[in-house]
């Protein structure tokens, strides 16, 4: 198995750095070294840039993969959007020699080459397939006792349909299983596989409509009386976390559900403090949640 370089994308390092810190800290506990992907850019975002100009989208994506290949690493993404872009671009370039040649002609101008000899991984499918649910369970030193709403996100599931359909045929449970390995309970809720609302450039194009989609999801999650929302994507994270504030202001509601990336949940179960994982840095307050972690009422 190749070593991994950590592809950060935009939203994690520049809005929710707690996700970046949590990824590094949990992987270090797993004994896996993550290389920095120095000089990486936006993936670039699958909905917007791919639909503005496909060649641009492929070119920048191939540069990001090439940077990782230069270190002989596979790419590890912590974001569904980045996964969708890099996985699909990687696939297209590997299966179309002319396209690869075209893109490489541009990349040569910057001293890089897309060789297509490595893989693109998403942190959730990586943990599930390489460490395994049992492997995660063994590393849990501070088992959790909480009800969580798992949000897969569209661009975790969709690329897997082509890349690894075993994980997404029939009932999809791989993310829930990883969550439950921490001791938490993944609670079923209505329309669980529904979109967060933000993707595809819609957040910029039709902000209010995307928030109404988000609000429907939040309503269903709140009905299921969950302690937090667990996602696998900083952009979904942003839509749920900062979206709750916007929704409360616009609709006179009072949503206050803490939003965590899976790496932050895993960090808690590995005995890291909420502050080390940046759980205190959300827009929607997490102070009550953190108190309950500290007084043990959300711990097993």
């Amino acid at each position: 198995m190749s070593n991994l370089s950590l592809f950060l994308g935009c939203v994690a390092p520049n809005r929710y750095p707690g996700i970046e810190a949590a990824t590094k800290k949990t992987f270090s506990k797993l004994g896996i070294e993550l290389d920095d992907l120095e000089g990486a850019s936006c993936c670039p975002a699958p909905g917007v840039f791919r639909s503005f100009d496909k060649v641009t989208w492929l070119t920048l994506a191939s540069r990001n993969i090439a940077l990782s290949e230069e270190m002989d690493d596979d790419v590890l993404t912590i974001c569904n959007g980045c996964y969708s872009t890099l996985k699909e671009a990687d696939h297209e370039l590997k299966s179309d020699a002319d396209l690869k040649k075209d893109v490489n002609e541009k990349l040569f101008e910057t001293g890089h080459e897309f060789r297509g000899q490595h893989d693109v991984r998403h942190v959730i499918e990586y943990l599930y397939q390489e460490i395994g649910v049992e492997g995660i369970r063994e590393l849990v030193t501070a088992p959790l006792n909480m009800r969580v709403a798992v949000h897969y996100g569209c661009h975790l599931v969709q690329p897997l349909k082509e890349a690894d359909s075993r994980l997404v045929s029939g009932d999809i449970t791989f993310f829930d299983e990883l969550v439950e390995a921490t001791g938490a309970t993944s609670v079923d809720y209505e329309d669980k596989m529904m979109c967060c609302g933000a993707g595809g450039g819609a957040r910029a194009a039709a902000h209010d409509a995307t928030l109404r989609i988000t609000e429907k999801k939040l309503e269903n999650m709140a009905d299921a009386q969950v302690d937090c929302i667990i996602n696998a994507c900083p952009f979904c994270h942003l839509q749920f976390d900062s979206g709750q504030k916007d929704i409360n202001e616009g609709s006179c509601t009072s949503y206050g559900i803490p939003v965590l990336h899976y790496t932050q949940l895993l960090g808690l179960a590995m005995g890291l403090s909420p502050e080390e994982l940046g759980i205190d840095l959300n827009v929607t307050s997490t102070s009550e949640f953190i108190e309950k972690i500290n007084d043990g009422s959300l711990m097993a």
């Binding site: 000089g39 819609a202 409509a209």
Partner: protein, 180 residues
């Protein structure tokens, strides 16, 4: 995947599960596909800006009995519109972020403070900490013509160094805060 909208037989099962269609009466995916199929260029104004509202959630596609690649079709319609100059202002700004900073969502003062607080480098080890990396991005975006595609008629100020990059970052950013 490529576009295969000729397979569509207009059953409407895509529109019936579309979360954006539920919120926006004007967003009708089946209709957009039909207009595209018929080549109704004159009716394009009915598609723009709505075609840019799609969240690319794939729900329509999962529900289509004819295995139409709806999301690819949406992206192709958008690409055509963008190349005719019909890009939404908000998306153009996101494009300019990419040209200027190599990120659709660049850093800001708040993020840098949080990073330091977490024991991370103030700037992530991306193009935001690499003048050379940023210049590679600019070269590639020039080669693909993307810089022209998102340029204002009055050219946006190009920022050359990572140090300078910052100051203009904040003002521009307020316009499209996290708009990607």
């Amino acid at each position: 995947m490529s576009s295969n909208i000729e397979r569509c037989y207009q059953c409407g099962q895509c529109t019936s599960v579309c979360p954006m269609g539920e919120q926006e009466q004007t967003y009708r995916i089946r209709r957009f596909l039909q207009m595209e199929k018929l080549g109704l260029e004159t009716e394009e104004s009915m598609m723009v800006p709505f075609i840019f509202y799609c969240t690319t959630c794939y729900r329509c596609q999962d529900n289509c009995p004819q295995d139409v690649n709806l999301v690819d079709a949406v992206l192709a319609i958008r690409e055509k519109a963008v190349h005719k100059g019909k890009m939404l202002e908000a998306h153009k700004k996101v494009g300019q972020m990419l040209v200027n900073y190599g990120h659709a969502v660049p850093t800001n003062a708040d993020a840098m403070e949080k990073r330091v607080h977490l024991g991370l480098d103030k700037r992530p080890p991306t193009v935001q900490a690499s003048i050379e990396g940023l210049s590679e991005i600019k070269t590639l975006l020039r080669l693909t013509g993307f810089d022209e595609l998102v340029a204002e008629s009055k050219p946006v100020e190009h920022v050359e160094s990572a140090a300078m990059m910052h100051q203009t970052c904040f003002t521009q950013q307020q316009v499209v805060e996290e708009g990607a």
